[in-house]
């Protein structure tokens, strides 16, 4: 029996449901703060629906990620400007929102925690390693290795040449291999 093709709106809903979690994680790797990452994903979804919903479904992946990356870059620029103003007005040391260092210490005394701790260590280390990567390398790596995009699609999302994508990706892989040497052999 032949399957009924999805309604355009239904297809759009399925597409967004499939990408929303990974989009959130990508934004979180870039901006660290979860609330900011959620704002970025919300913006990206609305802009995508307004601008590209009528485009063929085969193009949605590239277009959504281009929108998402553009929102992330916008956020980073705004934050840079805001931080510059804060430095000028002498509020650079204002760390009310910073994390309590006690909260970041691992609880090694919990019973039966070894396996969970190991698992948590890998995830946390990977997250940390992705956060310290330069943003272009992180973009290239996540789009190629996680989203499974080819070089041409990644170049289209990042707005650069295919050669640059290859360079960024290769550097990212080597940097991550070095950073995660003990955890992910």
């Amino acid at each position: 029996m032949k399957e009924r093709p999805l309604e355009p709106t239904e297809a759009l809903n399925c597409f967004l449901a499939a990408v929303e979690r990974r989009a959130f994680k990508m934004a979180q790797f870039a901006v660290i703060n979860s609330d900011d990452a959620l704002d970025i994903v919300q913006d990206a979804m609305l802009v995508f629906v307004r601008s590209y919903a009528k485009r063929p479904e085969t193009e949605w992946g590239v277009l959504f990620h281009r929108t998402l990356q553009s929102r992330i870059i916008d956020w980073q620029r705004r934050t840079t400007v805001r931080n510059r103003f804060r430095t000028w007005f002498g509020r650079a040391d204002d760390d009310e929102d910073s994390e309590d260092p006690i909260q970041t210490v691992a609880d090694t005394k919990s019973p039966n925690a070894e396996e969970l701790l190991m698992r948590g260590d890998i995830a946390a280390s990977l997250e940390k390693a992705l956060q310290v990567l330069p943003s272009r390398q992180r973009q290239a790596f996540l789009l190629r290795a996680w989203e499974g995009m080819d070089v041409a699609q990644t170049a289209s999302v990042m707005g650069c040449s295919q050669g640059s994508v290859k360079t960024h990706y290769s550097r990212a892989v080597h940097a991550l291999q070095k950073l995660l040497e003990g955890l992910l052999p």
Binding site: P8, T9, L12, N13, L16, A17, E20, R21, R22, F24, K25, S34, L38, V41, Q42, M45, L46, F48, V49, R50, A53, I122, A123, L126, E127, L142, A145, W146, V173, L176, Q177, L180, L184, P185
Partner: protein, 121 residues
């Protein structure tokens, strides 16, 4: 040698991908709920845009805007040229066509009085 490096890299990438997938699957309930609400909002927006497109087809809006623009230009040219001509007051046309300074016409009463005073003398 090269093959073993490629193999190592492939295995490394597989593990990273697995970890990333796990991290995306393990999102907390609150984050998932917020993502869902954003998606619903985006879908509402898509529906709204679809309804607007249905009510006013694109060809009609483009044609309509072009027609309105053409009509505005035509009406402004027609009435603009008609109203600017001072046909009801031919003496004004004479003043406008003259090469004299406008100040002369502003002080015309004074010069008329001066001429009549000279004549009386």
């Amino acid at each position: 040698m090269n093959n073993s490096i490629d193999g190592q890299e492939k295995a490394f990438l597989e593990k990273v991908k697995r970890e990333l997938d796990a991290a995306a699957d393990d999102l907390d309930t609150l984050t998932l709920a917020r993502l869902r609400s954003f998606r619903m909002r985006a879908m509402d927006e898509a529906e709204r845009r679809k309804r607007i497109r249905f009510i006013i087809p694109r060809w009609l809006t483009a044609g309509g805007i072009a027609t309105v623009c053409a009509m505005v230009v035509a009406v402004s040219i027609w009435f603009g040229t008609k109203q600017n001509l001072p046909t009801n007051h031919p003496e004004d046309l004479e003043i406008l066509a003259a090469q004299e300074q406008l100040d002369l016409y502003k002080d015309l009463d004074f010069y008329t009085w001066l001429a009549s005073a000279d004549n009386d003398r």
